[in-house]
């Protein structure tokens, strides 16, 4: 089942601003290694799931993963070859707003080389520049 809220007050959202830096969720809280966003983007539920699968496989299902973002905003799309008007389109997918500094994923319980490789593979699934963090130390950057 794709990542999406169980209950919502309204089905369709208006796109809000993504300006500024991440004021919350910008520190490592659970694991030893983390992937931090350096740019802003709307990250989709499919991208988050692809990252999760990449990390799980790279860690051979060992260790532990924390997903620190959740796609709680819907995005709509009108069908192809449809004239404008006639109301807002149907919900197409769900997104999470990511600002620079936001911690996206955290991992623990695996050797450092495995953790950094897993996060590097996850970073390749995202549309933004990220960096890998270890508690108190920056390990490397990926554009």
């Amino acid at each position: 089942m794709p990542l999406m809220p169980k209950r919502v007050k309204y089905r369709k959202f208006q796109r809000c601003s993504l300006k500024g830096r991440a004021q919350a969720g910008n520190r490592i809280s659970f694991g030893e290694f983390a992937l931090q966003a350096l740019e802003r983007a709307w990250v989709t539920n499919v991208q988050i799931e692809a990252c999760r699968v990449a990390i799980t496989r790279a860690m051979s299902r060992k260790g532990k993963i924390w997903i620190r973002i959740f796609p709680d905003q819907s995005r709509t799309k009108k069908p192809l070859e449809t004239r404008m008007g006639k109301g807002k389109g149907a919900v197409d997918h769900w997104v999470a707003g990511v600002r620079p500094g936001r911690i996206l994923f955290e991992v623990d319980g695996v050797p450092p080389a495995v953790a950094t490789e897993a996060l590097r593979l996850a970073a390749a699934k995202l549309p933004i520049a990220t960096r890998i963090l270890q508690r108190h130390h920056a390990v490397g950057r990926s554009a």
């Binding site: 089942m1 169980k6 830096r21 991440a22 030893e32 299902r61 623990d108 319980g109 508690r135």
Partner: protein, 224 residues
């Protein structure tokens, strides 16, 4: 105890966000100096000197000699350093004036040493539940970090704050001594949620406002 270094500082005549930002743009780091029976003083430090000093230590809590302007150097404790989440540069420092014989409360990082038996032989996962611990000690006993051996830990076993190798006559652990510090959890037995190529069927979330409207209409209908 960490070695004592000399940190140069200047008095900060103005306070506030704007002034702090102006200082940071000039390579300075805003700081505050306070202590028991001492009026708080707003100062600023050399950012480069601070970064070099912090890079030579594992932890950030340490004793330093600090000289404000031309005043006599005083011994202070770096109590907390705030870092920019994106650049990792220090943005603010809390300094505590210490008096000999007066105990101080500090937060020190906990480092786990060794590979637990539960991980090595049973495939468990070592989980650290607390990454720092608050302790009370004399200024001369300040630690940069606490290392605890977890090599004897089996699956579903844990160590608590009370198990920290700190002599009780010199260190007092703040908080619940029975609180778990690290544990080895059994290996995960999970399956991949969706098989490759299998199209995930998107489900619609429940809409609260629609549900309420339905309930309202259902209530109104029997009465009509």
């Amino acid at each position: 105890m960490a070695e004592v270094e000399l940190l140069k500082a200047e008095v900060r005549p103005q306070t506030g966000t704007g002034e702090a930002r102006r200082l940071r743009s000039r390579g300075r780091v805003p700081a505050v100096l306070y202590g028991h029976g001492v009026a708080p003083r707003h100062i600023h430090l050399d950012g480069h000197q601070l970064e070099v000093m912090l890079s030579h230590h594992v932890g950030e809590v340490m004793m330093v000699q600090m000289q404000i302007g031309d005043e006599k150097p005083v011994t202070v404790l770096i109590k907390e350093v705030q870092h920019d989440p994106l650049t990792d540069r220090p943005i603010h420092v809390d300094l505590l004036v210490v008096k000999s014989g007066e105990r101080v409360k500090i937060k020190v990082p906990v480092e786990l040493a060794g590979e637990p038996v539960g991980v090595r032989e049973q495939g468990g996962v070592l989980e650290q539940l607390q990454h720092e611990v608050e302790i009370e000690c004399l200024p001369e006993d300040v630690l940069e970090f606490v290392r605890v051996d977890v090599s004897g830990l089996g699956v579903d076993e844990h160590i608590t704050l009370g198990d920290l190798p700190l002599p009780s006559d010199r260190y007092r652990i703040m908080g619940d001594r029975s609180a778990a510090l690290a544990t080895v959890v059994p290996p995960r037995v999970t399956e991949e949620v969706a098989a490759e190529g299998e199209a995930a069927v998107p489900e619609e979330p429940e809409v609260i406002s629609e549900k309420k409207a339905e309930e309202r209409s259902a209530e109104e209908t029997p009465g009509d």
